[in-house]
Every structure is written in C-alpha cells, then in structure tokens.
C-alpha cells in the first residue's frame, strides 16, 4: 500500500511559534500575540501553554488575562510572519511547482511525479519537514493522502507537529472516526446544528442520504461528499489573489428594484469578465453578497461544470447567484460579485463552426474596444439608462 501524494502542511500557531523561536524565555510560558494598542484587542495567536490554560484565538484580551493572570502579551509583528510564510511557500516550491497557499501557515503540495528526485512521498514529506525546521524553526503537522480534505483532517488530528501518511484504503476509516468539527467547512453555526441532529463524527455525516444532505443547507451535499473522503479539487498553485476576481457597487439611494440590480450586476460582469479574458481565463463559480440597509447581509452562489468567459455566460450564472442571494424584502445598499474557480479558457477547437461563434466574435470586438478606449467607451443601452 502506498500513500497518497497530496501533502498538507499545517503550521498551527505560526505566530506564537515564531515568537517563541526568537525569544527562548517564552518557552514553557503561557503567552499570546495580541495588539495592545487596540481598544478591544483580541488574541491573534497563543502558545500551547496558554491553550492549556483555557485561552483561545479570537478571545478578548481582557478576558484572556482574567483566565490566566501571568500570561505574557507579545505585540504582533506582521512583517516577520509574512516573511516566514513566504519562506514556507518557497520551501514547498523546491519540491514541486504545484504548491497552494491555503491561508496562514497552511500549504497544500502535490508530490505526484517527484519520486525520482525525492523518493517516495513519505520520504519527501520527511525531508520537507526537516527543511522547515532548519530554515524557519517551525514544526508543523504534516499529512499525506490522496486529496486535500483528507490531508487537512489528518493534520488537524495529528497536531501539533505530528506526521501521518495514509494509503487510499486507510483514508475513509481514519476520517470517519474524527469529530465532525474537524471537517473543513464546518464552522460553529453548522456544528451547533449537527449537535442537534446527533451528528458527532464525520462518519455520521458521511452516512446521510442525498435528501438529508440537502436538508443541512446549500452546502450540505458538498460536505457529505467530503465526509466520505471524496474531494476532486486540485492543488491550485495560483496565488490567492488570482484565485478569484471581485467587484462591488454601492447603490445611491438604496434600492429593491430588480431591474437596477440586474443591470448593475451585468456592469460588474462586463468589468470582471474583461479582466479574466485579457489573461485567457474564465470562471466556473459566481458568488453574490448583498448588504442591506439595516446592516444585514445575504449570500448566494451558482456554479456550472465548464469554464465560461463570455459576458452573457458569466452574467447567466451571476444572475442565478443573485436570485439565491435575494432572501429579504429590504432595500439593498451594496452588491458584491465574485468570480472564482478560475481556470484557463482558451478558444475551443471545433471541427464545425460552433453555434455561438457570432457571440464570441461580438465579445472579441467589444474587448478590443474596451482594451483600447476603456470600459466606458461602449456600453449597453440599458446600462447607460441606469447611469442616467
């Protein structure tokens, strides 16, 4: 049995670990990283000793001090943490170009095809573990499996500083036994709901039927699939800022007019679509966030199986996302559109001319004008009417 090749590096508590590495007097002492200047400062990171005292990330600093009187407070040093993150990423790149930065202290690395250079994935993982320790002084937990979800659950189990390598037939058995809160995508709200439904372990979630999965919420089926250890998302080496594009409009005055919403959404689609097409890319998912007059927000998302880049196609999924986001009859102040799951979208080769060739030509012509004279140079009549 051989291990999977998707490696997750989980440098939990990277800020505290770096501070501890620089100041040895902090070893074996409870300390937190928090901004002392902020009026309601919260704990950004903490040492294992502070965790044992009951302190947690996100806790208000005054409360943390009440819980642990002798806790030391270190001011955050963003440049130091950013430099360490950069080095962590670069260490990953020494093994393969397929390295995804997945948030603070988290990397996904696809070791597929590296065995001639670095040996079996387990051996490469150990080398990488040693490189991280030597160069940055961190001891992250690392896990190997066949996909990102299983690897991430595994590093959350074998934390801190543990190692586990799973073969395909070990994966399901291992993640089924874990608390459901360890599954990526399960936050405090969902966890509370699962508690009411007696879903304690990931295996309980995996056993739900399709109907039951839908009953959990819009992301229910996706979560159930992940709970079964199935995750086909590739390791995405694009930097986080290139994984999605977004734009927003603020209505003046606030509106409930569906026509205005539609037209402003189309305006955003034109803008974002143009940005993507310039780089030969398209998107699969559109997400809309609405901000209401009373400060509440709602979200909607829509996805299609293939990558689309043309304005009319992007507008179609964006409108579906808008419809699913519109849940209240309250005036809307802000609309944000985000296009994600971005992939290259070169022209499709077809033996015969495709039916929508005319639309593609129109899009190309519009892009040329927009590229040369700016987005305001040519607009639809309806969009002009809204602006007027």
């Amino acid at each position: 049995m051989s291990s999977g090749t998707i490696l997750h590096v989980n440098a939990v508590g990277i800020m505290a670990a770096l501070e501890e590495g620089l100041d040895r007097s902090l070893r074996c002492r409870p300390f937190v990283v928090a901004n002392l200047d902020a009026p309601r400062s919260v704990v950004l990171d903490l040492s294992p000793q502070a965790h044992r005292e009951g302190l947690r990330r996100g806790m208000v600093l005054s409360h943390a001090r009440n819980l642990c009187r002798d806790v030391a407070v270190m001011a955050p040093r963003p440049e130091l943490y950013a430099a360490a993150e950069e080095r962590l990423w670069r260490i990953g790149l020494e093994y393969t170009p397929i390295v995804e930065r997945a948030g603070r202290g988290h990397l996904f690395i696809d070791l597929c095809g590296t065995s001639r250079l670095f040996g079996a994935p387990e051996d490469a993982a150990q080398k990488l573990r040693r490189d991280i320790k030597e160069e940055i002084g961190l001891s992250p937990s690392i896990a190997l499996s066949t996909n990102k979800t299983v690897s991430k659950v595994a590093t959350r189990v074998f934390r801190p500083a543990g190692f586990v390598a799973l073969s395909p037939n070990e994966e399901s058995g291992l993640i089924r036994m874990q608390p459901v809160g360890l599954l990526p995508g399960v936050g405090p709200v969902l966890l509370g709901r699962f508690g009411l439904l007696d879903i304690d372990e990931i295996g309980d979630l995996a056993d739900l039927s399709e109907c039951e999965a839908h009953a959990i919420g819009p992301r229910g089926p996706e979560l159930v699939t992940r709970a079964r250890g199935v995750d086909t998302s590739p390791v995405d080496p694009e930097p986080p800022e290139r994984r999605s594009v977004s734009g927003e409009v603020v209505f003046e005055p606030d509106t409930t007019d569906p026509e205005v919403l539609r037209l402003r959404l189309e305006g955003l689609v034109t803008e974002l679509g143009f940005t993507l097409r310039k780089e030969g890319r398209g998107a699969k998912r559109a997400s809309v966030e609405l901000g209401y007059t009373d400060g509440m927000r709602s979200f909607g998302t829509a996805r299609i199986a293939r990558v689309v880049a043309r304005d009319d196609e992007l507008a179609s999924i964006a409108k579906t996302a808008l419809e699913s986001a519109r849940k209240r009859r309250v005036r809307i102040r802000r609309l944000e559109l985000r296009l994600s799951e971005i992939e290259s979208a070169g022209p499709e080769l077809d033996l015969f001319e495709p039916k929508d060739a005319k639309l593609s030509k129109l899009q190309n012509a519009l892009d040329k004008i927009h590229g040369r004279f700016g987005l305001a140079a040519i607009e639809s009549c309806a969009a002009l009417a809204v602006k007027a």
Binding site: M1, S2, S3, E122, D123, Q126, K127, R129, R130, K133, S139, R156, V157, F158, P160, A161, G162, F163, V164, A165, L166, S167, N169, E170, G173, L174, M177, Q178, P179, L182
Partner: protein, 269 residues
C-alpha cells in the same frame, strides 16, 4: 561564546534481550545467559523488558536484572498480559498492584523510562474498552506510561487529546502497511516519544505465529527514513526511545545498531 544545544535524549534498543540466537550477533559466542544484559548495556542505552508480559515481574528479580548491567541504561517495561490482553474484570486491580510492586525498584532507582501498555488488535475503540483504558491509565498513573494500539480505530482526535491530557505517550509503530493496522504516523503526546519496530513482513503478519510475524530485516533505506522522524520527535519530547521487536536471527540488534549509526551520523546521538 554561546553554549551548544545539548543533544536530545534519543536511545535505540531492542524489545527483550534474552535470546540465545543473538550469540554471535550481539553477544560473544558461549557467553552465559546471565551475562547477556551486561553485554547488551555496553552497546545500547535502553532496553524494553518484555518478560513482564508473560509473567508478573517480581521486585527481587528486577533488582537482580538492574545489577547485571555494566553501563548505566534505562528500562522500559511491558505491562503484563493480565492488564492488556487477558483482562479479568474481577482481578485486574490486583494485577495492577502486583505489577506496580514488581517494577517499583526501577522507579525508585530512576531507571524506569516507561511502562508500555500494548493492547491487542481485538481491543477496539468501543465503550467498554474506552472505559477500561481510562481506568488502567488512572491506576498506573504514578508511572510514565506509553500506549500501543494495534488497531487503526484508536487513531482519532478524542483519544489523542485524552492521552495528552493524561500525559500518556502514544507509541508509533513500524508495521506492514495492511488494512486495519495503525497508519504510518508519529505524534508526541507526552514527554516520551516511543517507537516500536515490528518489521514489515506482510506475508506472515496475519498468518504467522508470534515468531514469524516479526521475521524481518530492515534495509538501510527503510531505517534512514526514521532519522528525520526521530529528530522531529526529539523537538517535542524530552526522551525518544526506539525498540526493535524483529528479534528472530538477531535482526533486532543488527537493525538497532544500524539506526544508532545513522542517528549518530546525523548528529542526533
């Protein structure tokens, strides 16, 4: 001038030492069995005593053993089968008392590294077993403890958190990669990082007896992969101990010596 970092306390040894077939491999040929431990202590810094699994250890016997070493070594000792494999709900607490008395000299002399509780494959992650584990860990809490699970179902976050709360070590095992066995992993849950090398004999693991199951000689490449793992464990634990259980034909001492050499070359020992 800064003082150099002290070397981590990493010691490699074998599971058991009393094997006549090791004569010519580890011990000089013709040496008496009473001399085995003395000879062993000149090569390795730690030993895992496993006679205590088959018979309840007696304090006087343990003292005799301790006196036989020629160089100071520390001892890990395997818990008796009455505490792990053949648990009688009516008498296990008496067994704890007896076992504790038997190993007391090791504790008193500061030569006890860990008490190993090796649970069988049939010991599953179920309510009764979980309760028993909690009870036995409490009953033996005056000793440094390490738990070895042979089933993969124990490798979950609740168990790991429970071991950390109780400062009980989780034994990492090097076994064949077969379904149901623990995954290839290491994690430090207490001050002691503990590794047992059982060999990777897939063919005899389920079908062989207690001897043939562990019939395996690790290659140098296989052992090399453990060097960075031991190093990583040493950053988390105060003591790291590795014991080879592939005792047939002297494979265990041969592999232990090889791993010591590799760790020494990597400046870990």
């Amino acid at each position: 001038m800064t003082t150099p970092e002290p070397l981590p306390d990493i010691r490699i040894g074998t599971s058991g030492y009393d094997y006549p077939e090791w004569e010519g491999v580890l011990y000089p040929k013709g040496i008496g069995r009473k001399e085995y431990l003395g000879s062993y202590s000149q090569v390795f810094g730690s030993v895992e005593l496993n006679f205590s699994y088959y018979g309840m250890p007696k304090a006087e016997n343990v003292r005799t053993l301790m006196a036989r070493t020629r160089k100071p070594i520390d001892f890990s000792i395997k818990a008796n089968q009455a505490l792990t494999h053949k648990v009688d709900p009516a008498t296990w607490q008496d067994s704890v008392m007896e076992f504790s008395k038997g190993i007391a000299p090791l504790q008193e002399d500061g030569q006890l590294c860990a008490v190993l509780l090796e649970f069988p494959y049939s010991f599953h992650y179920q309510d009764n077993e979980r309760r028993y584990l909690d009870k036995i860990l409490k009953a033996l809490s005056s000793f440094p403890l390490v738990v070895e699970f042979r089933g993969a179902d124990w490798f979950n976050a609740r168990v790991i958190d429970g071991l950390k709360e109780r400062s009980v070590g989780l034994c990492s095992v090097d076994v064949p990669r077969l379904e149901g066995l623990p995954p290839l992993s290491d994690l430090v849950t207490s001050d002691i990082a503990y590794v047992r090398f059982h060999g990777r004999n897939e063919a005899t693991w389920w079908n062989g007896d207690s001897g043939t199951r562990y019939e395996y000689l690790y290659s140098k490449d296989e052992l090399s992969t453990w060097v960075p793992r031991l190093e990583a464990m040493s950053t988390q634990a105060k003591k790291v101990r590795g014991y080879f259980n592939n005792h047939r034909r002297g494979d265990a001492p041969a592999n232990a010596k090889e791993l010591v050499a590799l760790a020494t070359a990597a400046k870990l020992i």
